[in-house]
Amino acid sequence: MGRLFAVEIVYRGIFQKTLAKNISRAIVLAAHCEGKPGISFGRYGDSPERNGIPAKSFAIVATDDLTLEEGMAKYEPKEVDISIAVDDTLCKGVESWAWYGLQPINRLTKPGGTLIVTSREQPETLIPMCHRKEYPYQLAIVKGIPSFSGLWVYKDDHTDVRILGAIARLLPELFGLESVQKAIMQEWQDPVKASSAARSYERITSVTVRPEQGNPEEPYKFELPKWWEMGEGIAIPGIAPGHTMQDPESQKSGGYQPARNPTFKKFTTRTMRPVVNFDTCIKCTLCWLQCPDSCFDVTPEGLYDANMEACCGCGVCEAVCPVKDCVTMVNEIAFQDNASQWEMWRKDKPVYQAWLKEKIEHRPERSHGFRYRGQYEEQVPEMMEIAREDGA
């Protein structure tokens, strides 16, 4: 019995599907250069990949064919040597289209395994976002913004090969740098990509994440019903009607909060979230009407509070709001929880305005999807800067 390796790539569907596929393919090809057989596959249940929804690709490699079959005998790996997140906001947890509840980004990472994240942030920012594990694991950061490399509208930014170079350094038993470069030349015939991999190999470092570090939240657990416990006819209960809201200050009731699915929340789809300036809101209802996820709660005084348990971060509210700077999309990395903005505003308006100002200042445009023409061109200098830092 030889050794089995498994790597998962967690990405945002559909934008990063090709990127993830390129990475898992190249892992198998690089391992093949060392005589190790392997397979690469996307998690079937994640498709169709709605915009931004967390999805996974896997690469499974073994030292021999029989051992590989042991890996192939499973629908997907139960644990992995390396977890890769190609968008740092995924560190908050993932809830795939194939619903399993919100799951930690590092759920499959083995004891002593490595979580590789593409991010501009430092470990101190990312570690508290990731759920705690019972055992230590490594965190390695490949510097970069969430990549669209491989999607037709974005030029190749070498994220794929920089991750491969990092893997060669972090898990040399899987494959060495030479094999990575050989596979790159086979797959892309691009020596510049091969040198990007080498640079990443030289620069990558990792830190140990200890069991007491990270998000202490207990990951969602559930038990599926037995066949005879389930209702017949494939009929499931609908969501009950909503109810009024209560003002935390005046205790007055009013407005309307729709009832929502208590378990399928979908908010890990979000890479940006709206922040609302309730002092400038003109109560025009447009955000509430246009929100595709019915995520706005109507407050007793007729304001609209975006419920962060339900918001997928699409940005439609910002787009339809007729007031300048009333609704602003801010990168998800700036937030630690899903607390109600309206409740915060009701409790202390000056504090809320200061909070709002700070969040909006911290709004690097790093969403998925083009929010305006020319956004990519604006990002190029930042990416160039990353490349310079990486090569310094």
Partner: protein, 406 residues
């Protein structure tokens, strides 16, 4: 998918491709003339790669995206009658939507090759593998073959053209590929040279059945009770001849490509000294083989028979082989509700095949892995234990659901 992955050079190359891509590569190698498509998962992965090959100028064919599966299969039926080598495919309820077109094809002696990306039938809408879609045409004159890896998918597609287009057969052939496990998983596949493929696969010659102005014929006139039974008997005779042709073609495949599949109709794994065997189709072979290796370490002599060709069904040969064992467990990744002993399709067919045999071991059946559920190694061990109990004469239900929450 990079261009490099699909580039076919003169010499054999290796590429990291999915089972679906392997079928698309086979279409290129077979130089198919007319391909029709209509999207449905997981079959659509084939049409995407075919479209890419056409767009890249690597495959010169008529590529028609129809408005439904019914039209998709009608178009290739007519193109095949007019002498074109054709490819088509679908999955799940898409295949069912084409059902009328599927029924009219065999009697016209159309050697269509289709890929079925096996998918559970709606409702509920689900993508995972079940074999009921392809099995639905089992009575109609379609040849049906199951494969369990991307290499076999490519090879079998070439074999399917050769068998289907043999004048003694002239019947359609559907290649079943398990959704997800085969259609969406990339593995290293050897791609043969087109020279070898050309040596293996002659051009499609429809001869006197060619629908062409130079050969004025009417195809499929209305017929009454004076004719129909004889027409059915002709189609049945073609299916009977298919046994011989399949054997010939596999021998020729081995001669030209140097890759042997042994018995074309079913693969035997660790059966030589086996006490009991399991029988199944498709990619569940992988966990079954892994489990068998584990069980053999514990002294349980379990073997596995993987059915490839379901139509034609090699009944006598299979009965002879399975008669050697103390008991035989059938794993159905399908259901046939209300069938004899509430079993799946494969179990019912294997029992029917065994009945005339002098040696008839107990044949418990299992329903397992429906809707793409993983057939786990412990599932296989559990089934093997039940088969051992059957061999010991323990009374038990003839059908058990395995891996079900109960």
């Amino acid at each position: 998918m990079t261009q490099a992955a699909l580039e076919i050079k003169d010499a054999e190359t290796t590429a990291l491709i999915t089972g679906s891509e392997a079928i698309a590569v086979a279409c290129k190698l077979a130089d198919v003339d007319v391909i029709t498509a209509y999207p449905i998962r997981p079959y659509d992965t084939v049409m995407q790669y075919v479209a890419k090959l056409v767009a890249n100028g690597e495959l010169d064919c008529e590529y028609i995206v129809a408005e439904s599966e019914h039209s998709q299969f009608e178009i290739v039926k007519h193109a095949s009658a007019a002498g074109a080598r054709v490819f088509c495919g679908s999955s799940g309820v898409g295949w069912m939507y084409a059902f009328e077109a599927l029924t009219v094809t065999p009697a016209l002696r159309i050697p269509m090759v289709a890929m079925v990306g096996n998918r559970a039938l709606d409702d509920p809408g689900a993508f995972g593998v079940e074999h009921n879609d392809a099995l639905a045409v089992r009575d109609l004159g379609w040849q049906l073959v199951w494969v369990d890896n991307a290499q076999e998918a490519l090879d079998t597609a070439l074999i399917a053209y050769r068998v289907a287009e043999d004048r003694r057969v002239f019947l359609p052939c559907a290649i079943s590929c398990d959704g997800a496990f085969l259609t969406h998983s990339q593995a290293l596949v050897k791609i043969p040279s087109s020279e070898k493929v050309n040596a293996f696969l002659p051009r499609y010659d429809r001869g006197d059945l060619l629908l062409h102005p130079d050969n004025p014929i009417t195809v499929a006139p209305q017929a009454n009770e004076d004719w129909l039974m004889e027409i059915r008997r002709q189609t049945a005779a073609a299916m009977e001849r298919s046994y011989t042709v399949i054997r010939e073609v596999y021998r020729d495949f081995e001669r030209i490509f140097g890759r042997s599949y042994g018995n074309p109709f079913f693969e035997e794994y660790e059966t030589e000294d086996a006490d009991i065997v399991l029988v199944g189709m498709g990619t569940l072979s992988i966990p079954v083989k892994v489990a068998i290796r584990q069980m053999r370490k514990e002294g349980k002599k379990v073997g596995f028979v993987r059915m490839r060709w379901f139509r034609p069904f090699a009944a006598e040969e299979l009965a002879k082989s399975l008669g050697r064992f103390a008991a035989v467990g059938i794993i159905d990744r399908d259901f046939s509700l209300g069938a004899p002993y509430l079993s799946g399709v494969l179990a019912t067919e294997v029992r029917a095949a065994m009945y005339p045999s002098a040696k008839r071991p107990p044949i418990p059946g299992f329903i397992c892995g429906l809707g793409g559920r993983e057939v786990t190694v412990p599932d296989v061990v559990k089934m093997s234990d039940i088969v051992y109990e059957a061999a010991d004469g323990k009374a038990q239900p003839l059908t058990q659901w395995i891996g079900l929450r109960e």
